[in-house]
Symmetry: C3
Subunit: 462 residues, 3 copies
C-alpha cells in the first residue's frame, strides 16, 4: 500500500510536463530578450547611444551569476547530502525544483519588475534574480528534506516562488527597502515559509525514521562540498545585483570578512557546548555560513570591515547555539521538524541581518556615503527620506516578510497535505529507495526499515 | 599473462615522454604569444591603437574560459566516476588525456586558424578552443570507458584531435557554418567517433565484467558532482567564443533555459519509463545535460527563450528514452558497447542541435537581427548568402561531421586494436586495480574477478 | 589521560574568541575601505578623475579572486582528505585556519604595504593577497597534517602569517624581487616553514599510527576534487595580481601549459618508478600540480609557452621522483615526517621556480618586452638595474626566503611543543575521532587503536 502511494510513475511525469509546458507557453506569449541580449536592440544601443560592448551588463554580472548558480545547484544540493540514505534525493530534488523555480520566477519577477508594453524583458540580471528566488525555495526544502515527495516539492516551488515575487515587490518597490543579498526576501522568507510548511506537515511518528536521519562519514564529506562552495561564493551572492563599482566591491568584501569571523565563532562555540570538547560537523556545515546571511541586507552599505566581522561573529555564535539548544525545543515543543536546521542558518541570522540593515540604514550620513548615497539609498540621496525613516522602512519590511512567510507557508502546507502527492510514510522518511533505483550496496537499510515496521506497530513517537 | 599485457611500466612512460617532448619541440618552433599576450605587442596596441587594458580579450573571455576548464576537468572527470570500481581511471585518465589534448589541439587548431608568417599565435581564445577540442576527445572516452588502456587513450587523443581540427576547419572556414557551442564539431563528432572506436574494439566477452559496470551509492554522488558542474557552466561553454556583447549574453541565456527545461523533461521521462515509477540516476546524471548540447549551434542565434526551452525539453525527452530503449538495442544488435551512453547525451542531441541550428539559420531575417546580423551570420549580413542557403550549409556541415567521425573513428579503432597497447582483458574491464595501486578496501573485487575467471572458462558472451 | 589532553572544550574556544576579538579590535582601529571600495571615495574618483565604473579594479580582479578563493578552501581542503580517517580534520581545520589567516594577513600585509595616515586601506587586491598568505599556511599544514591540534594550527597560523608578511616585504619592497605567483613567498616559504615545524615536533613513535596514514578508495576520490581544482585555477592564482592586460593573460597561459606538461610527466614517471607499472594516486594528486608552482615567479615574464612546458615537465618529473625516493629518506634520515609530501609539491618545485625566475629575469631584453618592461621589471625599465642584477636579486630573494622559513619554522615548532595545546598522542594521529563527533560507521578504527594502546603502556611520547 505504502509502495503504491509513493509511486511516482504518473504523478511526477504529469506535474513536470504540465508545469514545463505551461511555462513554455507563458514564455512564448510574454518573454522577450532585453536591450542587452537582443541582437537588434543591443546594436541599436551601440550605434545610437555611444556604447561599447564592454558596457554590456554581461561583463559586470556574469562572473557573479556563475558563482550564484554554483551556490544554488552545488552549494545547496551537496549541503543536504549529509543524510546517510538520502544523498540522491538531496542533490537531485534540489536540482529538479531549482530548475523549475528559475523558470517560474523569471515569469513572476518579470511581471512585477520588467513588464513593459505587455512583455517581460529579460537579461543577465533577471537570471541572477531567478536564481536568488530559487534559493528561497531551497531553504524551505531544507526544512522538509526527506519528508516530502518531488511532486509536493514542485507544488511548493510553484506557490512559494509566486509569494516570493509578491513579497519582494512589496519590499523593494512599494516600501523602498534595500535587501541586495536577501536577508529578508530570501533567507527570512525561505526559512519561515519552510518551517510553517513543515509544521503543517508535522509527523508525530517520525521517530520511526530517526535511525536514518544521521550521517555516515563520507556523506558528511559530501556535505562539506556544499558548505565550502556556499561559503566561498557568498561574497558574489550578496554583491551580484548591487550597483556597479564600489558597491559590488564593498559588498563582496564585507561578506568575506563576516564569513571569516562567523567561522571562528562557530568552531569556538561548537567545542564549547559539546560535553567532551569535540567539534560537531553539523555546526561547521551550517553555522559557519551564518556570516553570509547576516550581512545580506547591510553588506552593500558602509558597514565597515570590522562591523561586518562583529555581525558575522554574532551570527556564527547564535546559529551554533540554535543547533545545540533551540532545535530540540522547537521539535518537541512547537512540533517544528526542521531537517537541516534552517531556522538556525537562515531564520535567526536572516532576522538579525534585517535588523542590522535597519540599523546601518538609520545611521547613514552624507559624510560617509558622499555621492555614492544615490546608489545605496536613493530616497535619502534625493531628500525624500531621512536615514531614520529608511531604517524604519527596513524594519517594517522584516515584519511584512515574516507575515507573508508564515501565512503563505501555512496555506501551502495545507495544500501539500493532499494524500495523493506521494509523500513517504513515517517509517520511510530520509530514504532514497522509495523514489530511486539504488545500487545494491544501498538496498539493505530500506528493507530493514520496512521489515522492522511491522513488528514495531506500537512504537512511540516524539 | 594478462598481467603482463596490461603492465604500463614502459609503454605509458614511453608514449607520455614522446608525445610531450614532440609537443614541446613543435611549440618551440611554431608557437608564439599573440598581440594581446605579448608584453611588447600589447603595449604597441596600447600606445598606437588607442586601446586600454580593458580592451584586452582576457577580460571578455577569461571567466568563460575558467568555467569551460572546470567542465573539462571536473565535469567530464567526475561524471564518469559513477562506476563502482573505476573512479581512479575515470577522473585521472580524463585528466591525462585532456592535459595532452589541450596541448596538441593548440598546435592543430593553430595551424588551421592562426598560422601567419610561419608562426602560430595564441591567446585566451585559443585556450578555450583547445579545451573545446579536448571535450570531443572526452566524449569519445565516455564510449570506451573502462575498456581501454591509457596508452590507447593517448593515441586516440592524438588522432582524434587532428581529425577534429580538420573537420572544424572544413565546417567553419570552408563551408562557413556556425557552431559556437559545438553541437556538430564537438558533440556529434565526439560521440560518433567514440562509438565507432568502441564498435571496432567490440568485446564479445564483455559480459564477464558486467558485475563491475554498475555503481555504488557514493560513486553515484561523485558522478553528480560532474553532472551539476557540466549543467551549471554549459551557458559559459556555449557562449565562450561567441562575439562580444549581446551574443555572449544571449547564448548564455538560451542555454540556461534549455537546460532547465531538459531537466524537467528528464525527471518526468525517467519516472514514466521505469516499471515502478522510480527515478534512475543514470538518466539524471546524463539526460538532464542534453539541453546544453541541443542549443550548441543555435544558442547564439535569436532562438528566443521559449524556443530554447522547447529544444531542451525535447532533448531531455529523447535522451532519456535513448538510455532506456535504444542503448540495449545498440549493444545487442549493432555491437555498440557505449559505457557512458554518449549516444544519448551527445550523439542524438548533437544531431538534433545541428538540425535546429540549420532551421534557425534559415529563418534569420534582418528585422530580427538588425545590425547584429554581422556577428551571427556574416555572410547573410554582407549579402553573399541568403538565410536559406546558410541553413543548407549548416545541414551539410552535419553530414560532413558524421562522415568524418564515422570514418575517422573506424580507422582509429583499427589502430587501437594493436595488441601491445595494454588493453584490459574482457574479465577485467571497469577495474582500476589493473592500472592503479589501490587501497586495501578496494582490492577484493578484482581478486574475486580474477579467481572467478578460471572456473568460468565457458561463460557465454552477449 | 590522553583523552584529557586532546579535549578542546576550553582551549579551542579560548584561542578562537581571543584571536577573533583581537582581530576585530585591530580592524576597528586601523582598517578602512580603499578608494575603490568606499562609497564616498570611489564617487570622488568617478566625478573628479574621469573614471567609469568599468575602471574599478573589481572587474579586473574579482573573477581571479574567486578562483584563488576556491583553491584555498576547496583545493587545499579536499586535497588533504586523502587520509582514510582524517577527512573531517583535513577539510575543516583547513577551513578554520584559512578563515583566521585571511583576517590576520589583511592586517600584517596591510601594515607593510598599504599603511597611510595611520590607516590600512583595503580592497580586492588585499583580499587576494590575504588568500595567498593563507595558502602558505595551508602548505605548512600539509606537512603536519594529522599530527597537530587545531589550537596548535591556529598558533602556527598566527606566527607564520606574521613571518610571511615580513619575508614578503623584504623580497618585494626592499630587494625588489618579482614573485607574482609566489614560488618563493608562498611555496618555498610555506613548505620549508612547515617542514621545520614538523621536524621540531618529530614523533619517533609515529609508526603506531601508520595503519591510519593511508587512504581508502573514496577518500582518494575526494582528494582528487582538491587536486583538480588546484590544477584548474592555478592559472588564475599566478595571474591574480599581475599587471592588467597582457601580463594577466600571459601569466595565465604560461601556467596553463606548464601544468599540462607536468601532468604528462607525472603519469609517465609514476608508472616508470612503480615495480609493477601501476600508477600511484599520491603522485597524480600532487606532482601533477608542480607545474603551477614552478612558474610562480616566471609566469608573468616572457617565458614563452614552450619554456613553460619545459619547466612544468621537469617539475612533474622531479616531484614524482621526490615522492618515490626522497620522502622515505627525509623521514628515516632527517626525521622529517611530511604527511602530504609538501617538500615534493611545494618545496623543490618552489626552489626550481625561484631559480627559473632568476634566470628568465636575467635574460630580459628591451627587444622582447618593449614598453611592457615597466609592468614586469620596473627597475630594468627605468634603467636603475640591469637584467643580470635583477636576476641576482631574485636569487638572493630565494636564499632569504629559505632562511626565514627555516629559522621561523624551527622557532614556531618549539612554541607548538607546549604540552597543553591538545596535540594527539602518537597512537592517535591521523584520527578524526579525538577532535570530532563522528558517525557510527567511523567509530571502530579509533576504538581499535585505543584498545591496542593499553597493552602498550610503556610507549614513550614526544
Amino acid at each position: 500500500m505504502s509502495g503504491h502511494t509513493t509511486n511516482l510513475r504518473l504523478k511526477l511525469p504529469a506535474i513536470c510536463f504540465l508545469l514545463q509546458l505551461l511555462t513554455i507557453l507563458l514564455f512564448a506569449v510574454f518573454v522577450r530578450y532585453d536591450r542587452e541580449t537582443s541582437a537588434r536592440l543591443w546594436h541599436e544601443e551601440l550605434n545610437h547611444h555611444n556604447k561599447s560592448n564592454r558596457d554590456n551588463d554581461f561583463y559586470f554580472r556574469y562572473p557573479s551569476f556563475q558563482d550564484v548558480h554554483t551556490m544554488i545547484f552545488i552549494g545547496f544540493g551537496f549541503l543536504m547530502t549529509f543524510l546517510k540514505r538520502y544523498g540522491f534525493g538531496s542533490v537531485a530534488f534540489n536540482f529538479l525544483i531549482a530548475a523549475f523555480a528559475i523558470q517560474w520566477s523569471t515569469l513572476i519577477q518579470g511581471f512585477f519588475h520588467s513588464f513593459h508594453d505587455g512583455k517581460i524583458h529579460i537579461g543577465i540580471e533577471s537570471m541572477i534574480n531567478a536564481d536568488f528566488c530559487s534559493g528561497a525555495v531551497l531553504i524551505s526544502f531544507g526544512a522538509v528534506l526527506g519528508k516530502t515527495s518531488p511532486v509536493q516539492l514542485l507544488l511548493m516551488a510553484l506557490f512559494e516562488v509566486t509569494l516570493f515575487g509578491i513579497n519582494e515587490y512589496v519590499l523593494l518597490s512599494i516600501i523602498g527597502a534595500k535587501d541586495a543579498g536577501g536577508s529578508m526576501t530570501i533567507h527570512t522568507f525561505g526559512a519561515y515559509f519552510g518551517l510553517m510548511v513543515s509544521r503543517v506537515l508535522y509527523r508525530p511518528q517520525l521517530e520511526k525514521s530517526r535511525q536514518r536521519e544521521g550521517s555516515v562519514y563520507h556523506s558528511d564529506l559530501f556535505a562539506m562540498i556544499g558548505t565550502i562552495y556556499l561559503w566561498l561564493f557568498w561574497p558574489s551572492f550578496n554583491s551580484a545585483i548591487t550597483a556597479h563599482g564600489d558597491d559590488q566591491q564593498r559588498t563582496a568584501m564585507n561578506t568575506y570578512f563576516s564569513l571569516a569571523a562567523s567561522t571562528l565563532a562557530t568552531f569556538a562555540t561548537s567545542a564549547l557546548v559539546n560535553g567532551e570538547g569535540k567539534l560537531d560537523m553539523v555546526h561547521i556545515q551550517n553555522a559557519a555560513l551564518a556570516g553570509g546571511v547576516v550581512v545580506g541586507t547591510s553588506g552593500e552599505m558602509m558597514l565597515t570591515p570590522f562591523g561586518a566581522m562583529i555581525a558575522g561573529f554574532l551570527a556564527g555564535l547564535v546559529s551554533t547555539l540554535g543547533f545545540k539548544f533551540l532545535t530540540p525545543i522547537l521539535d518537541s515543543r512547537l512540533k517544528l521538524q526542521d531537517t537541516c536546521g534552517v531556522h538556525n542558518l537562515h531564520g535567526m541570522p536572516g532576522v538579525l541581518g534585517a535588523l542590522l540593515g535597519a540599523l546601518v540604514a538609520a545611521l547613514a550620513t552624507q559624510d560617509i556615503y558622499g555621492d555614492g548615497m544615490a546608489d545605496v539609498f536613493p530616497f535619502i540621496a534625493d531628500g525624500s527620506r531621512t536615514a531614520t525613516y529608511q531604517g524604519t522602512c527596513q524594519f517594517f519590511a522584516l515584519l511584512i516578510t515574516l507575515g507573508v512567510a508564515v501565512v503563505g507557508g501555512s496555506l501551502v502546507g495545507v495544500i501539500l497535505k493532499i494524500r495523493t502527492l506521494g509523500s513517504p510514510p513515517d517509517t520511510q522518511c530520509f530514504e532514497d529507495q522509495i523514489y530511486w533505483e539504488v545500487p545494491e550496496d544501498h538496498q539493505d537499510g530500506y528493507m530493514m526499515a520496512v521489515n522492522s515496521e511491522d513488528p514495531d506497530r506500537s512504537a512511540s513517537s516524539v
